[in-house]
């Protein structure tokens, strides 16, 4: 696998029939936005949705780059953080749009991480029954995960992502330069999802990560771009085969059954998504040794890579097993209270199982955490 970054940006195509789109990965892309947007034949007006952390760093540059191409945008700001992914913020933005003179050819750009992408995508999906949506992800997590695949939406007080749509962007601009400003902890959290892609779908990429993870975490542009491209290719392939998560796409939830439950138990505070997923993946890999034929050695390789990347691999003491079980059953992926786990047969190959019992979970929990 090549890991050099040439000057020209790389493109990953997400094949979804008439809703196909490109992910453009490279450096210096924000400044070239007008040129890169051009093939979309957008209208001359749009909005940039961003947050109070990312906006001050990049919104003026993006707005200026678009203006140079004759495209006028208004910047809509939300407070940084998960609470902005709410119906309240969605309504506030939607009610503001008519005053901006937008029409059906207008567009919404999401400039930020997953929260901004999901919120802005929901706005784009529902305003005038859907206007053009462009993603400009600025976190590693958003680059490799939430900006690909068309899941958009907001949280309800009762749970995450309970309201939303499947709505594809027309373009994703993945400018790896924007990662320079990402806090270290956010970078490592996003890296958990990078590792996930290798674990569930691509053993060679996993091995590349074992060799090169330090370069990615040092944010070397060629290493970051390569990792992002591999993740996007894997996700694009999966999404094009199963857009609405009726089957294959579910393997991307590796580590998420336990991870989501942990996030719910701490009310999404003090625990980043990737940090929870890291613990969840390690847990699921141990279940996989017991139930799906994963070798002990490969399970250890996974946990070792997570640890080497600065991620936790075992639930801390505050997570009581019974409360975790309860939270797992409340998750929207559970069916009639039946838990669904993604298990690994080997590194690079995952299966979805509804056959995991409470006793299995207890046994692994006791090994994992005590």
């Amino acid at each position: 696998m090549a890991s050099t970054l040439t000057g020209a940006p790389q493109r990953v195509r997400v094949e979804l029939g008439e809703r196909s789109y490109d992910i453009i990965i490279g450096t210096g892309l924000l400044a070239r936005a007008a040129e890169l947007f051009k093939p979309l034949k957008l209208g001359k007006r749009g909005v940039i949705v961003t947050d109070s952390n990312v906006g001050p760093l990049y919104d003026a540059a993006l707005q200026q780059a678009l203006r140079a191409g004759g495209i006028e945008t208004e910047i809509l700001d939300v407070p940084a953080g998960e609470p902005s992914k709410s119906l309240r913020q969605a309504n506030r933005l939607l009610e503001h749009l008519p005053s901006l003179g937008l029409d059906r050819r207008s567009f919404v750009v999401a400039l930020g991480g997953g929260v901004v992408g999901d919120l802005a995508g929901f706005i784009a999906a529902t305003y005038l029954r859907g206007i053009t949506f462009v993603q400009v992800p600025t976190t590693l997590l958003a680059l490799v995960d939430s900006s690909v695949g068309g899941k958009v939406g907001v949280n309800l007080p009762q749970g995450k992502n309970l309201v939303g749509s499947f709505y594809q962007p027309r373009l994703v601009l993945a400018d790896v330069d924007t990662l320079k400003s990402l806090p270290e902890r956010e970078l490592r959290s996003g890296f958990a999802e990078v590792i996930k892609y290798g674990a569930v779908r691509d053993a060679k990429f996993f091995a590349w990560l074992e060799r090169e993870y330090q370069r990615v975490l040092r944010r070397e542009p060629d290493a970051v771009a390569h990792a992002v491209r591999c993740c996007c290719e894997i996700k694009a392939d999966i999404v094009s085969k199963d857009e609405h998560e009726s089957g294959l796409r579910a393997i991307l939830n590796f580590g998420h059954t336990v991870g989501h439950a942990m996030e719910a138990l701490v009310d999404y505070e003090g625990l980043l998504h990737g940090e929870a997923i890291s613990m969840g993946m390690c847990f699921a890999s141990k279940l996989s040794v017991k139930l799906a034929g994963l070798s002990e050695a490969e399970s250890k390789r996974l946990c070792a890579l997570l640890e080497a990347s600065g991620l936790s691999t075992r639930p801390t003491e505050k997570f009581d097993m019974n409360r975790l079980l309860e939270a797992m059953r409340l998750d929207k992926k559970a069916r009639n209270g039946k838990l669904r786990f993604v298990l690994l047969k080997r590194l690079g190959e995952a299966v979805v199982s509804e056959a995991v019992t409470d006793a299995d979970i207890e046994e692994v929990f006791n090994v994992c955490c005590r």
Copy 2:
């Protein structure tokens, strides 16, 4: 054309690939809901969204019929009337759903007219990124128009239908018995849309309406069912060719350029949709004589049928032409302020035109209204 109603309900298929669905038209369908829902393989839990007028008449019967088939539903009520088609009501319902133990196989039934259908459809489209949606329309307008085609959504203070989705129902139960409770004025308003289908797409159906309109307006079940079936067939054919209104579907906006503007000018108060559309169609037919080759005789037939059905055909004095023009330009169907009119070449054949000038409109307005 046959106009008899046999005992068995009639089915119109809306062909949309994997999103295809049936419209079942007949009498006594509410009581058979469980049996008719069965092929959908729904979950055992759902909600019935209805309003304060329709709910008391039919919700208990529908709930009971479903319960007899082992399906439990909760009834969610909104105040009758257009103001319920709001983000506020949508949020209220969405925030209530998680407490009902719904999952991805649960469903939403819209029991009511267009407001309930559009609101409930938007809930169904966005809850858990889309759960099953079933329409049980109880107004003539909803039976022939808003329950077919997948446009769902809510209004913003600045305009109607500014937020929403394209989201198809899995089934439409068109029980013509429910029209018995419809106020006379609502029936006539809905009949304007019935006439529209003949005018834009089916001259034979138009001629049938000229002969049989009194039987439809007397709510004779066989006549109503035949009219509903013809309208649904026309709309189903158009929607299956152009789901997202990029071309052909726009002809269904016949009468709507002027009609929507009138509704906006009176703030949707004191003027029903079909009443506005009736005036708009007559106006558009006179434009069509001038610009699209419609014969004077056919224009007169259209206006005569509208009048015979108890509908107005000319804007009353309160509509000032300049204010109407302004309102038309603000409509979301206008592009860069350019008006789009649907014109008739003859009864049964419509075209979309962006070539109508202010002078054309003024001339017809002076003939029509002075």
